[in-house]
């Protein structure tokens, strides 16, 4: 038991990675990408067919929830994991992206690629509007404000006519084809590849940020905000940046989601989704990209895989959360040892 709980795969992996030369690394990364790219066909290939999900199609499950959750969990990880701000209303940015796509495509006939920058932009603006007042607060006060914001966005969507009220927006067009790849209901694997590309972009972006000035500032803020401010880090600006970048990822996921499912309604953007994404982040290992990806993949995939016990699958899900947190409080793949901090208990 002690071995199980203390075993840190992340550190082991980092050691192996550090031992490799550049060509080996490149080959490893490329082969991993090819493997992931082949995932949509895993359900129909003999040896891996155990992955297949009953009831829902495996390829659709890979796009939503798995791919989308990974994307959103990565976005939320910037806020919660990197700079240590507890955000309980992350679904709001997802909703803003989705509604941007829904409204602009059905009313003005824009296509997904044209809307994408606007969806991201609106989500970022929302991030600033929420962040400017909220980020002056700390800890759990921030949590309740973000929770409130998530609910406000959903309630506004229910009560406005342009968003279609409780019925939502039907008939959102799929994205137009690029490079001869057609996006429609029959080919979910193409969406999956698109999501994978977006995930890779986000991973690359986060890694760049982490080693540069913003990453160091976030790390300092997470460890001790007062000390960070004292050392000359403009805490509000960097907290706002992490918030806005997280929002941008959520917005992008929303745009893609809306054009995939074609119908959106306020019910899809409930508080549960925020909680679930936060659970993905914590479950996988706060602050560690690979852990977060793994956590999101498992938590999104598990309920679909065990759909045959449909009635009690959420029950099992709850039990898994409790059990995992008790066994590995730092998540599946914890962050690097040096990044861990002992949090202050009392003020």
């Amino acid at each position: 038991m002690a071995n199980l709980t203390r075993f840190n795969l992340r550190d082991k992996g980092a050691d192996i990675w550090a031992g490799w030369s550049r060509p080996v690394r490149t080959i490893f990364v490329l082969s991993m990408i090819v493997l992931v790219g082949l995932l949509p066909f895993a359900a129909s290939w003999g040896p891996t067919s155990f992955l297949n999900t009953p009831i829902t199609s495996f390829q659709n499950v890979l796009v939503y929830p798995v791919g989308m959750f990974i994307l959103m969990a990565l976005g939320l990880n910037i806020v919660v994991g990197k700079s240590g701000l507890l955000d309980l209303g992350y679904v709001a940015f997802f909703a803003i992206g989705a509604y941007t796509q829904g409204i602009l495509s059905t009313l003005y006939g824009w296509n997904t690629w044209e809307i994408m920058p606007f969806g991201i932009g609106f989500a970022m603006i929302a991030g600033v509007i929420l962040g400017l007042p909220a980020l002056r607060l700390r800890g759990d006060y921030l949590a309740i404000i973000t929770l409130g914001f998530g609910e406000i966005v959903r309630l506004v969507a229910i009560n406005m006519s342009v968003t279609g009220g409780p019925n939502g927006i039907p008939g959102i067009p799929n994205p137009p084809s690029i490079f001869g790849l057609k996006f429609d209901l029959m080919h979910p694997q193409i969406y999956f590849w698109l999501v994978v590309v977006m995930i890779l972009l986000v991973v690359w972006m986060v890694r760049r940020f982490t080693v540069r000035r913003p990453g160091r500032a976030w790390e300092a803020i997470r460890q001790d905000e007062d000390v960070a401010a004292l050392m000359g880090v403009n805490t509000l600006v960097y907290k706002l940046w992490s918030f806005v970048i997280g929002a941008a990822v959520g917005g992008a996921a929303g745009v893609l989601y809306a054009s995939k499912v074609a119908v959106i309604s306020p019910d899809m953007f409930k508080f549960d989704v925020s909680i679930l994404i936060l659970a993905c982040v914590v479950f996988g290992g706060i602050g560690n990209i690979w852990g977060v990806i793994m956590g999101a993949a498992i938590l999104a995939y598990l309920p679909e895989r065990i759909r045959f016990i449909s009635e009690s699958r959420q029950l099992v899900f709850g039990a898994v959360l409790i059990l995992m947190m008790n066994l590995r409080p730092d998540g599946l793949l914890p962050r690097k040892k040096r990044e861990k901090i002992t949090e202050k208990r009392s003020s």
């Binding site: 759990d140 404000i145 309630l155 899900f317 409080p329």
Partner: protein, 317 residues
Amino acid sequence: MNFSVVTSQFWSLALQGLALGLIYALVSLGYTMVYGVLRLINFANSEVFMFGTFATLYIEVHFLGYDIGAPSLHGFKLVYTLAFALLASMLACAILAIIVEFVAYRRLRARGANRLASLISAIGVSIFLLEGMRIITISRPMTTPRLLDKWSFGEFHGANFRIDTVMTIIAPIIIFVVLDQFVNRSRLGKSIRAVSMSEENSKLMGININRVITLTFCIGGLTTGAAAFLYTTVYENTIFNVGFNMGIAAFTAAVLGGIGNLRGAFYGGIALGMLEQFASAMLGSQWKAVTVFTVLVVVLLFKPNGLFGEAVQQTRT
């Protein structure tokens, strides 16, 4: 915007708001007590409330044998039936809250785990309880028998002083006074306050931290159970997800008053209840939650620790 409603129905709205707000206040104690000691949001408290409403239902229907159509009771029998249901609900919630602490918090705390890890395990407990109850009740709303005949004491400027409204106002106030005295005067109450100030130092002073934490969960469970009983008596129905909105409202109330602060929860609950009543009268009930959260944001902007929060400038995480 409909301001005339406010002037014409002011007393009625205020009375309803007060009654609702005091139920919020009782539930928010489950958040604020735990937060004061552990600095953690007790996410499972909304499900403790849900459990309490079903416990009340179960006691009344299956234990005491009153069916849905049962005639309402009178006199001594009424008093002792209600008192019994109230105590049973409080006890059930307290036991559940202690179990929640055991399952979701204790082990993690012993290992010095991250705050978020406890948050997620509490959410796990919450999902487990919610889904368990959903499966047991097959997602059906349930009606409780009307044991209390809802006669009115009289009217005051349109405010109808019904017996259940009066009860939901008086009972929480009594509970609050008792609890406030307990926390401020008694030895155990003092140890709760000591732990909320500094865990390390209270350990050095020989306080059994685990016992204090169990006690706080127990108190939170007791008040939440009382709130669940009052809620069931007033609204006479319950459903498996009844805790969700109640939990958000109660947590908002706790934050509004200054989380971790007993009296803050009391005033925060009343403020929130009033706010909800007036906002839904003025803007329509669909904008109720939006107004509440907007007011919360504005309050926190000017008073970052809530209306009655600690004097420290910024609360530490």
